[in-house]
Amino acid sequence: MNWPHKDLLDVSQLSREDVDVVMRTAASFREINARPVKKVPTLKGKSVVLFFAEPSTRTKTSFDIAGKRLSADTFGLAKSGSSLQKGETLKDTVLTLQAMNPDAIVMRHASSGAADFVARRVSCAVINAGDGWHAHPTQALLDLFTLREVWGDDLVGKTVTILGDVAHSRVARSNIRLLTMLGVTVRLCAPRTLLPKDARALGAKVFHELEPALENADAVMCLRLQLERQEAGLLPDLREYARRFCLTKARLKNAAPDVKVLHPGPINRGVEIASDLADAGNSLILDQVASGVAVRMAILYLHITRKEKGETA
């Protein structure tokens, strides 16, 4: 298999076949994570820069573990402590990184389109680990991987409700793109202040009340609520949000009988999701974390080994 993409900027660049390749590759790596010695030499001698210009714990750690389990050397670079904080432009920062000749740059940035900006300026692979409100492709792929573990490979006919702050969510946008491509019906549910004005243009059905949005849903993805949204005038307060939109076992009564619950984390318990539901048997939240390492191993492997495969083809 010759992976055709230099970079992973969003799931919209992937074909269904590409997605299947990622899923199969991740499945093959998942087994490594269960071994007593969780390391293979696949990417030995390769360098991965983890360039996180915005705070992140989960995604950065997940990529770091993924790289190390494949024996790549990973280097962390945060905005604090980097030249960006001294006023250096993003262009100059990435050209400096490029000059050190890494094999991949995993990047998180507060501006939509930032990963695309960097990818056009460096020759190594760029993996988008979240850019502004735009895209978070590895999160969408790991969510899909998690759901396929439960539902099998064919998701056609399933209904997934995405609940919460869609307007400011890169996770939502990538999941909508990926799930609709695979034949899933996607519903969005949020107060109007947390939805884009033209939310239907994203290709999903839009709800402003929880109960109809959950009816017969096969899965519910809660989104993280940035607590400063109430200060921006988008919400009265968290209590009011929870009264209307916090996902509880009672509110899931009209969903599909074996409905699954997902959340990209970190969770605001009692705000986005009731604490008992987050820990319940139909919660896939920790499965998502575990899937994340396998999917990110797959993504690093496919992108970093792409050139060698191309040369020998």
Binding site: T89, H109, S112, G113, F117, W133, P196, K197, A201
Partner: protein, 431 residues
């Protein structure tokens, strides 16, 4: 009678059949007469137009020339070079320089720089600040600015949010010079570089709704009517604003309005791929807005065209979208980009003469040429068939920040004259 010293022979003229010859002397028009191949002008420089279009030189009521303070983007000399190359004889330059043009010393510096660099034109007409430092707190000394050479007042770039202060600004300016308002509700538009709509939703960009513009347009219309004080509405970009202006004009409200070539020729589809060159304020809107603006321009609801020429250096656009500066460089490409609309039958050459030359000069009381005897010999020649590719080298502005880079335009200014002085000739300028 002064003998002719400059003649343009064998030119097409908008709104007139046949070929014409423009005869000028001592910087003024002597006459515009049907072309006679046998006519001789032994003491004049005779420019053979060979069927090119003879247009009145244009007035750009809205440019940013960046001097003083940000000369790496543009300076007055390079801005006027771009103006000459674009076919302009008059340029109004906005006050958001550094320092702000809120006192006579800055105004006089601008005028001196212009006369030093381009003694024969294009003419520079500074726009004074409406409020001190454009801070929206205290009125600028408008009479002082007027006496120093300003021809209008504006807080362009920093909309005045305080309606009470804006009211007083209109009242105070009413006896001095027109007020140009940047119509944007600053509370609704914070940090947005994209139209709020389908494209901003897909790209995950902060959007500026068209109502942010329309709200301020409505405010300005109501104040203009209430005070009977004129307001000129800058860079109108959307249908909602057009509809408000049309209603206001039906009632006789003292408002005038402008739009820019990029709002007539592009939509927010240009943002696809996060193209920072297409990031402008107000943002590029939808095709429905674009068509509404074209119709409004033809009908006179929108009075004039202006470039909102906003030059930036390469590094200021070579950033992620949300970090990029707003603005498109526009003087060099204004006529060439608009000509596509003429080719499509959506505008006429007469529309361009009316909206980009005569009407703006009337609104701001500036010299202009209608080809009548005694008019200043301000004109340009435009070759409507000449194709050219927009490259950094073909732009005389220091700002190369346009989404047109790499595109081919059909129609090009080949010569510009101000007061009978040829200030630009493509054949000599090259590129």
């Amino acid at each position: 009678m002064t003998p002719p010293d400059l003649v343009v022979a064998d030119a097409a003229v908008p709104g007139r059949d046949g070929r014409w010859t423009l005869v000028c002397a001592a910087g003024q028009v002597l006459e515009l007469v049907p072309h006679d191949p046998a006519a001789r002008f032994p003491e004049a420089r005779v420019i053979e137009a060979k069927g090119q279009l003879l247009l009145p030189a244009m007035t750009d009521a809205h440019t940013h020339l960046r001097e003083p303070g940000q000369e790496w983007k543009e300076d007055i000399a390079s801005g006027l070079a771009a103006a000459a190359g674009g076919g302009f004889s008059n340029i109004l330059c906005m006050a958001n320089t550094d320092p702000v043009n809120d006192n006579e010393s800055v105004t006089r510096l601008m005028l001196r720089r212009a006369s030093d660099a381009w003694p024969h034109g294009p003419r520079l007409f500074p726009v004074g600040a409406l409020t001190m430092g454009l801070a929206g707190k205290q009125l600028a000394p408008m009479e002082e600015l007027l006496a120093a050479g300003c021809v209008a007042f504006s807080n362009d770039g920093e909309p005045v949010a305080d309606t009470e202060l804006f009211r007083h600004a209109l009242e105070y300016a009413a006896d001095l010079a027109p007020v140009i308002d940047h119509c944007e509700d600053p509370y609704m538009a914070k940090g947005a570089g994209a139209n709020e709509g389908v494209m901003s939703a897909r790209l995950g960009l902060r959007g500026q709704p068209d109502v942010a513009e329309a709200l301020q347009v409505a405010r300005d219309i109501l104040l203009a009517e209430y005070l009977n004080a004129p307001v000129h509405l800058a860079h109108v970009s959307c249908r909602r604003a057009v509809e408000l202006i049309a209603d206001a004009k039906r009632r006789g409200a003292p408002v005038t309005a402008e739009t820019c070539p990029h709002y007539l020729t592009m939509t927010d589809a240009a943002l696809f791929g996060y193209d920072t060159m297409a990031k402008v304020n107000p943002p590029l809107r939808t095709d429905d807005d674009r068509l509404a603006l074209i119709q409004a321009l033809r009908e006179g609801v929108i009075d004039i065209l202006a470039t909102d020429h906003a030059p930036h250096a390469a590094h200021e656009k070579e950033t992620p979208f949300e970090d990029a500066k707003n603005g498109i460089t526009g003087l060099d490409t204004a006529l060439g980009s608009l000509w596509e609309l003429v080719r499509l039958g959506q505008l006429t050459a007469e529309d361009i003469a009316q909206r980009f030359a005569w009407r703006p000069a009337e609104i701001f009381k500036l010299p202009h040429c209608r080809f009548a005897p005694g008019d200043p010999a301000d004109f340009c020649l435009f070759d409507p068939e000449q194709s050219w590719v927009v490259t950094p080298e073909t732009l005389r502005s220091k700002g190369k920040n346009t989404p047109l880079l790499g595109q081919s335009l059909t129609g090009r200014v080949t010569l510009t004259a101000v007061n009978g002085h040829v200030v630009y000739e493509l054949a000599r300028a090259g590129a």
